[in-house]
Structures are given as structure tokens and as C-alpha cells.
């Protein structure tokens, strides 16, 4: 039982990160039909913004973290939307898909060529200690990670459901035409989702990098996990993506321990296929009403 709890808690911590990344992913899809294949790289890169701020500008960690988040919002939010998404969206989903694939390649190569191909140590928000509770040992880091991630996702949920602005964003996501008729500034809403996504990615980046270490390949697994989590959760629901992410993290651990370690990454995918077959609207999603 203790080992089961241990697995559960570890899985939750990993899953919370997937959730953070998946929520942004599904937000982008909802508001602008952007399937962002560079989402993993969006999490990989901000850590390097922070490192540059620390090492090149000589800022302390907290200031660097703010610089990193701001830079992410600017580059991965504003510029990404203005330069890439706006250009392509009018041509349909495909060119944008291809551009984000190319973008992910670009970001990986750029970090490798201009920063380093080696994993970089990254300062941690909390001291590296272990805490023992009910026979289960938590590392303070993953506990902090879990708490912060859950708090952010919860805050996001409140924002989307219970504030005027958030509701306008949701309306935009569900039906841009009607939203426009209702007088919502659709353009501004879409831009906001891009900024929110970039900030979520940057926060995820700062949370995981002490454990993952900052490395140019970090995005590969993360991006795929976020993608899968978003689909499992239902592509059109932020809280679905959150549940999907957490489920993914927990499942991964349980499978590795009680089923097959070699196939641990297969289980979420099989789950995904099953969902598509039997519950295409996802864990918490609704049936999509829009055609195309």
C-alpha cells in the first residue's frame, strides 16, 4: 500500500506538469485551431531564457525567472501569434501544423547550436529535501511542483469560468462568429490565450528544469505527453486537459510498476485510441457542435 501511495504521489507530480502544458495546448486549439507541435519546445526554451538572464545579464534567480516568463510571453505568445499563426491560419490547419513542426526543429537546433548540447543545471525554487509522511517519502521539489501546478490550473479554471473576461474567452473558443456578434473583441481574446499558453509553458519550464535539467531535447517527450493528455481529456475543455494530464502521469507509474516497463508509454496511447473509439468527446469534453 505504501508503495502504491508512493507511485500515486510521484505520478501526480509528473501529471501536474503534463496538465499545465496540456491546458495551454487545448486552449490554443479551442480559440484558434492551432495544433501546436512545438508545445514541448515551448516548455524547453523558457528555461534557457532564464539561464541567459542569470548568466549573461547577471540577474538573481527570481528576477531571471520574471524575465524568462516575460520573454516567453513576448516570443512564444505575441510573436508566435503575430508572425506565424496569423500568417497561416487563413490557409487552414495544415500549413500551421507544418510550421509548428518546423518551429520545434528550429528551437531545438537553435538551443543546441547557440547555447549548449549538454544538460544545464537549473536553480530550484525549494531546497532539495525529502519529507516523510504516512510511510511515503516525498521530495520537497515534486511536492512544490504539484502544489504550484494544481494552484495554477485551479486559478485558470476560476478565471475561465467565473470572470467576465474568462467567459468571453470561452465564448470565443466555442463560437467565434457568435462571440463577435455579441460584441466580444475576438482578436484580443485569441491573443490572450496565446499569452496565457506562453506563460503556462514558462511556469512549467521553471518548475521542471531543476529536476529535468535544461536540455534541448526536453520538449520531445513533453510535447507528446501534452498532446495525448489533451486528447484524452477532450480537446475542447481546459479542465479535461488537466484531468488528462494527471491521469497520464499516474498511469505511467502504475503501468511501469504493475504491468510492463517496456510498454509503459504504450498504455496512455492505447487509452487514447479507446477514447477515440468509445468516447470521442474525451474525459470531460462535450460533443463538438461545430462541423469542421
Amino acid at each position: 500500500m505504501a508503495s502504491f501511495l508512493q507511485l500515486l504521489v510521484s505520478g501526480l507530480a509528473t501529471g501536474a506538469i503534463y496538465a499545465l502544458v496540456a491546458v495551454g495546448f487545448s486552449l490554443l486549439w479551442q480559440t484558434s485551431q492551432t495544433i501546436n507541435f512545438a508545445q514541448g519546445e515551448f516548455v524547453m526554451v523558457p528555461a534557457f531564457f532564464v539561464l541567459v538572464a542569470m548568466h549573461a545579464l547577471g540577474l538573481p534567480f527570481w528576477a531571471s525567472a520574471i524575465v524568462g516568463i516575460a520573454a516567453a510571453a513576448l516570443v512564444l505568445g505575441l510573436l508566435f501569434k503575430r508572425i506565424i499563426v496569423d500568417q497561416m491560419l487563413r490557409h487552414g490547419v495544415l500549413p500551421l501544423v507544418v510550421s509548428t513542426i518546423a518551429l520545434s526543429l528550429f528551437m531545438r537546433e537553435a538551443v543546441k547550436d547557440f547555447y549548449s548540447s549538454q544538460a544545464q543545471p537549473f536553480p530550484s525554487l525549494v531546497a532539495d529535501r525529502d519529507i516523510s509522511l504516512f510511510g511515503v517519502v516525498f521530495s520537497a521539489q515534486s511536492l512544490a511542483l504539484l502544489v504550484v501546478a494544481v494552484a495554477i490550473v485551479a486559478a485558470l479554471h476560476v478565471f475561465l469560468q467565473h470572470t467576465r473576461f474568462g467567459r468571453m474567452m470561452q465564448a470565443t473558443a466555442q463560437n467565434p462568429t457568435v462571440a463577435r456578434i455579441l460584441g466580444i473583441d475576438v482578436e484580443r481574446m485569441i491573443l490572450t490565450t496565446f499569452l496565457v499558453n506562453a506563460v503556462l509553458c514558462a511556469i512549467a519550464s521553471i518548475l521542471i528544469s531543476p529536476i529535468y535539467l535544461a536540455k534541448f531535447t526536453n520538449g520531445e517527450t513533453l510535447g507528446l505527453a501534452a498532446f495525448v493528455a489533451a486528447i484524452i481529456g477532450g480537446f475542447n475543455q481546459a479542465r479535461g486537459a488537466m484531468a488528462g494530464g494527471i491521469l497520464l502521469g499516474v498511469l505511467d507509474n502504475l503501468c511501469a510498476a504493475y504491468m510492463s516497463a517496456q510498454y509503459r508509454s504504450a498504455v496512455p496511447l492505447i487509452l487514447l485510441v479507446l477514447f477515440i473509439l468509445f468516447r470521442p468527446q474525451g474525459l470531460m469534453g462535450r460533443v463538438e457542435e461545430r462541423t469542421v
Binding site: S3, L7, G11, E109, K112, S117, D128, E220, G249
Partner: protein, 389 residues
């Protein structure tokens, strides 16, 4: 109607341009007469990029030193770096390409799969290929033109196995490995050695490269309760595993091969690395002054700390220098023949860093070490002599 033909016309023209491009690319003279062409075909992007860049930078360092000192037999080295993109089909294409320009020796690749594809071409063209791959199969195929720069797994694993049997007197062992060609090869050789020594493998745990969460693996290891746990993963994963093992207070001696005891893992894992024991092959942490000096030079030139692939690349170039100077001429076939059975010592060729012998299969033999991590430092407890001494 018009549209289609228009395209066809464009297609012809574009096709012509593209083909001209191939012709140009393939026809460019790749070397001048007064340099010696030693191409390096290695993983510079994709999954192998970390090992590949290390290998490349080790080579670059050696080439710069040798060229600054006047080259080999008065000729400067021309060492272009070609990217295999960590893909066997492209590795083959790149080696095919350099073959067209009559290379003296070929360096790389590091990925064992790519080595296996390209060494057949090396054999056909009778050009020696000095590789970074460690899979046992490479030197078991009777190819007289392939040479290693580090222990094949069939040599390093027996050393560990002996240590587990004689040093630890373990009766049961668990193995945790990363599921790629490096990890799987190590795991297969290790299990074979364990069976040969009648030590029971009670848990056999595969992990993914890039894996972050080792909770499940440690839970399984705890349940297996082995006397010794052999950990064969890359640096970052090793460090994460060690932290998790300590967190869940895993019992049993943690045994590693080179990586697990490396300075990088110790740095990343902190206190969790204390008590780790194992075999240290080629590593800048080994108690050999030449290796430490190399590490300093490397760090100064490239601004990061090298791993064993950096040393391998560096040594490969110096091996070429030594053999060629001994031969007194540039003859690819004679080079391969001469390197078989040759021993190069650091007093004759300082760049070789540690005395090394190549056998008739192209396997390398060096001294190695048994070590232990004590208070955040790697401590060498025993020097293991070369196998054939």
C-alpha cells in the same frame, strides 16, 4: 489542360536544376593536394547529438593541436564533420559520399546501428573506420577495417561481473537499464556474464531514455531485494534514479559502469551518489594526469566538460598520427593492417593519453579502474590491468 502542361514544363526545368545541384554537390573537390582527408561522420543532430558533439569536439581539439604543430608527415589534416542526423540511412549516405573522395581514414559514427551499416562500406573500400560504438557485434563480424576507441561491452561487463562476484560476493543482482542500443547491449552482456557466474538476476528493469520519474522502478527494485543493483543508464537518468533510490531508501549495493560514477552524475545527484561503486573505463575522473590535463584543455576550448566520447575522438586522431608516422606514408590499407596488434604508449605519443592496444578484431584494450563515490568524490580503489597482460 494548360495548367497541367505548364506544371510539367516547370517540373522538367526544376528537375534539371535540382539534378544539376546534385551534380555540383557530388562533384566538388573536397580536398587540396597538400592536406590529408580524414572525414568525421557522426551524430550531430537528433538523439545522438550529445555524444556526437563531444566526439566532434574531441577530434577538433586534436586536429587543431596536430595542425598547429605542422600536421602529420608535413601534411595538414582536413577533417570535415558530416552529420548523420542519428539515422542509419543518412550515415550510410555520408560515408558513401566521403568514400568518393578517397579518404585516408574515417572517423565515427558513435551509434552502433550506424557503425554496423557504414563499416561494410569501409571494408569494401579498404579504408579504416575508427568508431565510437560500444556494441559487442561491431568487432565480431570479421571486418578488418573497423577499430574501437573504447571497450566493447563484451570487455567491460566481465570486469563488473567479476567485481560483483569477488568484491561484493553478491548472490542475487538486479539490473536497471535504459532501453536504447547502448543500454540494451550492456544489459544483454551483463545478464550473460551473471549467468556464467551463477548469480541470479532477480529483477530486469527497462527504463526510457529521458525518463524523469523513477518511482515505479525503485518500487520494483525494493520488492526484488537484490544484493547488488547494476545501473546502466545515461548521466541525467542515473542521477534522477540515484535521488529516487535514496528517497525510498533502497537497499543493496549500487553498481555502475563508468557513467554512474562520473563527476557529472555526482554533481547532479549530490549526496545520493555516495556509496555508489563500480567500474570506471575511460573517464576524465580516472587517476591519470594526462586525462585530467585533457579535460582542462577541452573545457577551456569548448566551455563545457567533456564526457568519454570527447576522449575517444581525441585519442582516435592521435592514433592515426602515431600509426601514420610509424608507417612513414599515407596508405589506407597499410594503416588498417598496422593498427591491428599495435600498442601505443603515452611516452611515445602523449596524445593517446593512456596506453592502448588494438587486437586483431579492432577491439581496444586499456587499463581500467574500480572506484567508489566517497563524500561526493570519485575514489579509485583498484587499478585493473589490461586484459591481455
Amino acid at each position: 489542360m494548360l495548367g497541367l502542361t505548364h506544371f510539367a514544363a516547370r517540373r522538367g526545368v526544376l528537375g534539371g536544376i535540382a539534378l544539376a545541384g546534385v551534380l555540383m554537390a557530388a562533384g566538388l573537390p573536397a580536398r587540396a593536394a597538400d592536406t590529408i582527408f580524414i572525414p568525421n561522420v557522426v551524430e550531430l543532430s537528433g538523439a545522438g547529438a550529445v555524444s556526437g558533439t563531444n566526439w566532434r569536439d574531441g577530434i577538433t581539439l586534436a586536429v587543431e593541436e596536430i595542425n598547429a604543430a605542422g600536421g602529420i608527415l608535413g601534411k595538414k589534416l582536413n577533417v570535415p564533420h558530416l552529420d548523420t542526423q542519428s539515422d542509419a540511412s543518412i550515415a550510410r549516405a555520408q560515408v558513401q559520399k566521403v568514400m568518393d573522395d578517397k579518404p585516408y581514414v574515417i572517423l565515427g559514427p558513435v551509434f552502433s546501428g550506424s557503425v554496423l551499416v557504414t563499416m561494410a562500406l569501409a571494408q569494401q573500400n579498404e579504408v579504416a573506420e575508427i568508431v565510437g560504438g560500444e556494441a559487442a557485434a561491431i568487432t565480431q563480424r570479421g571486418n578488418a577495417f573497423v577499430f574501437r576507441t573504447s571497450f566493447g561491452q563484451q570487455f567491460s561487463m566481465p570486469k563488473i561481473a567479476n567485481y560483483i562476484r569477488d568484491g561484493l560476493k553478491a548472490k542475487s543482482v538486479a539490473v536497471l537499464w535504459v532501453n536504447n542500443d547502448f543500454g540494451k547491449g550492456g544489459r544483454d552482456n551483463f545478464t550473460k556474464e551473471m549467468q556464467a557466474r551463477d548469480i541470479k538476476v532477480v529483477a530486469d528493469i527497462s527504463t526510457e531514455s529521458g525518463q524523469v520519474d523513477f518511482a515505479a522502478d525503485v518500487v520494483k527494485l525494493k520488492a526484488a531485494n537484490a544484493d547488488a543493483i547494476f545501473v546502466y543508464t545515461n548521466e541525467e537518468e542515473s542521477a534522477r534514479f540515484l535521488k529516487e533510490a535514496r528517497k525510498q531508501s533502497l537497499k543493496g549495493a549500487l553498481i555502475g559502469e563508468t557513467t554512474l560514477l562520473s563527476q557529472k552524475v555526482i554533481e547532479l545527484a549530490g549526496e545520493a551518489a555516495n556509496g555508489v561503486r563500480g567500474h570506471v573505463g575511460l573517464s576524465s575522473d580516472a587517476p591519470v594526469p594526462a586525462l585530467a590535463t585533457f579535460a582542462e584543455k577541452f573545457k577551456k576550448r569548448f566551455n563545457y566538460a567533456n564526457d568519454h566520447n570527447g576522449i575517444k575522438g581525441y585519442v582516435a586522431v592521435y592514433a592515426i598520427k602515431h600509426v601514420t608516422e610509424k608507417l612513414g606514408k599515407f596508405d589506407s590499407k597499410a594503416f588498417a593492417e598496422a593498427l591491428h596488434g599495435m600498442t601505443i604508449t603515452p611516452d611515445k605519443e602523449p596524445g593517446i593519453l593512456m596506453e592502448a592496444t588494438w587486437d586483431k578484431n579492432g577491439d581496444i584494450d586499456r587499463a581500467s579502474f574500480l572506484g567508489e563515490v566517497v563524500a561526493g568524490k570519485q575514489k579509485i580503489v583498484e587499478v585493473l590491468p589490461k586484459l591481455n597482460k
